[in-house]
């Protein structure tokens, strides 16, 4: 696929506005209904302890905590963690947040080595390369209890893979939770095989009332579902691959055009 590693970064100061779109699009409650069911169906360990990698602004983690899970969220983007911390305080949810890059394994080990093992490690909607996905699963295996699982959300195409150079673009508007502010996002998606390059230009009014424009970009790697094949090539001696589950609970607009999301999991032997 060529490139195997890319950073997930954000321009300074726009997380507040990205959050408007996440609240509108992510449909966390519906998604988590599918996710919690998937975990409860396949998990063979007795606890309810979850570690969520790349937890962002913590919306999912608070929702999972409200469903009875004990949640640890790990996120490297400080602005996101600050927002997440605020929400955790407000909601009084049982969520512990850690600021760390999930690919900085030495740092991760320092933080997690003396912590209780997890019944599930999840990584949902994190735009890492598939190679990095696999590295993360391999590394975090030691923090999962026997019978526990690793669950990740991967992307597939809803129709034939778009042709080389195909693109889609559109504009979205999202409001703040209090409906007194809004932000505009111009999305541009370019499809090359399983790689989708996503450019997003944000237009918004900053806290001083000035109109501002910032660009963010991401790379999404689509991993078509294949019967019996493990896209992450996880260690078969360590993990048993679980059936995939296509997330149909959410409105498709949460994702780029032609893309759907599915859950795939591995249970620790």
């Amino acid at each position: 696929m060529g490139q195997e590693h890319w950073e997930v970064t954000y321009p300074q100061g726009i997380m507040r506005y990205i959050e408007y779109f996440r609240l509108k699009n992510n449909q966390v409650e519906k998604y988590d209904t599918a996710l919690a069911k998937y975990i409860k169906t396949h998990c063979r360990s007795s606890g309810f302890r979850i570690c969520s990698l790349g937890c962002g602004t913590g919306e999912r983690e608070i929702d999972l905590a409200n469903r009875g899970f004990e949640v640890v969220g790990i996120e490297c983007h400080e602005e996101s963690v600050a927002i997440a911390n605020q929400s955790v305080v407000t909601s009084k949810a049982n969520v512990d947040l850690i600021t760390c890059d999930i690919l900085e394994f030495d740092e991760i080990d320092k933080i997690l080595h003396n912590k209780k093992l997890f019944d599930a490690v999840i990584m949902i909607a994190v735009p890492l390369s598939i190679v990095d996905h696999a590295r993360v699963v391999r590394h975090f295996a030691k923090y999962i209890t026997t019978g526990g699982m690793f669950v990740t959300g991967l992307w597939g195409y809803t129709r034939d893979i778009p042709r080389e150079g195909d693109y889609a673009s559109y504009i979205e508007v999202a409001t703040s939770p209090t409906k007194d502010d809004f932000a505009v996002r111009l999305n541009y998606y370019e499809y090359t095989g399983n790689i989708i390059k996503w450019d997003a230009v944000y237009l918004y009014r900053d806290l001083n009332g000035h109109v501002r424009m910032e660009r963010d970009d991401d790379i999404l790697e689509v991993t078509p579902e294949q019967d019996g094949t493990d896209p992450l090539d996880t260690d078969e001696e360590l993990f048993e691959q679980l059936p995939t589950y296509r997330v149909t609970e959410c409105h498709p607009k949460m994702l780029p055009p032609y893309v759907y999301e599915y859950l795939i999991g591995w249970r620790k032997k």
């Binding site: 009014r205 109109v211 498709p252």
Partner: protein, 259 residues
């Protein structure tokens, strides 16, 4: 018109109006409305619910109708007043929510166009206007039908309003779902003098009437409003190809109040 739970952002209606004037073929649409009305009513008075900026109402006034426009949005009515004054059109305006009892009576023609209301709310409006209609009165409303469904690639447009005397552009995009079309219209304008950029948005979901609902409506099985008969249902898109948002066709429904 806006759904009951939404409000226009301050200052956006001026631009929404420019966009509509550019695309919605009001002249052709008004020709058609006049054709429907002229063979069915003798009076020349019309009440238009959710009249907005009065693009349709001023055109009807020019065709000899005496129009009363009712709308709850003061921002839209202000632009309507300017249009009425500029065109010296005879249109009376009332600032009023059409879901409250209406401040008019003995009416022989009522319009509810581009309301973008779900069919259930249109039924509520029909019940609400029943009292003000005379026997044989005509009620005309429109609904939108989806002509392409979910999964279609979104459509994005870029418009500039320089030719319309405004230093502004609009970037808009529409996405179809089975229940409606999401529209986002973003207006960027430049203030004269300072050159400062301003940002306004209008975004809404246009509810979609399923073909099955419309055919049931046509055969009067499930319309659920007694005391009316259907005079006709027409597709305006045949003569106004841009009378509807992308992915949609506009259907004009004409009801007649039975005596």
């Amino acid at each position: 018109m806006l759904p009951p739970d939404q409000k226009y952002q301050s200052g956006v209606v001026k631009y929404v109006d420019l966009l509509r004037e550019r695309y919605f073929m009001y002249d052709e649409l008004v020709d058609f409305i006049v054709e429907i009305l002229s063979s069915r009513i003798t009076s020349n008075t019309i009440v238009s619910l959710g009249c907005g900026t009065c693009s349709i109402e001023t055109r009807l006034a020019k065709r000899g109708f005496r129009v009363t426009g009712i709308d709850r949005d003061e921002q839209s009515l202000e632009i309507a007043r300017q249009r009425i004054q500029k065109q010296k059109a005879k249109v009376d305006l009332i600032c009023h929510d059409i879901f409250d009892p209406l401040p008019v009576n003995s009416t022989s023609a009522v319009l509810l166009l581009f309301s973008a209301l779900p069919i259930e709310m249109i039924k509520t409006v029909i019940c609400n206007i029943n009292d003000i209609l005379v026997s044989g009165a005509i009620f005309i409303f429109d609904v939108f039908e989806l002509i392409s469904g979910e999964g279609e690639s979104p459509l994005t447009f870029l418009d500039d309003f320089l030719s319309m005397g405004e230093d502004a552009i609009c970037v808009s995009s529409y996405m179809a779902h089975n229940t409606g079309v999401d529209g986002a219209e973003v207006y960027l304008s430049r203030k004269s003098g300072t050159g400062e950029i301003d940002l306004k948005v209008d975004y809404t979901t246009i509810p979609i009437v399923q073909t099955t609902v419309l055919s049931e409506l046509e055969s009067q099985f499930s319309f659920g409003v007694s005391g009316f008969q259907i005079e006709g249902i027409w597709t305006t898109t045949k003569f106004c190809p841009t009378a509807a948002p992308p992915f949609c066709i506009q259907k004009i429904v004409c009801l007649k109040k039975l005596s």
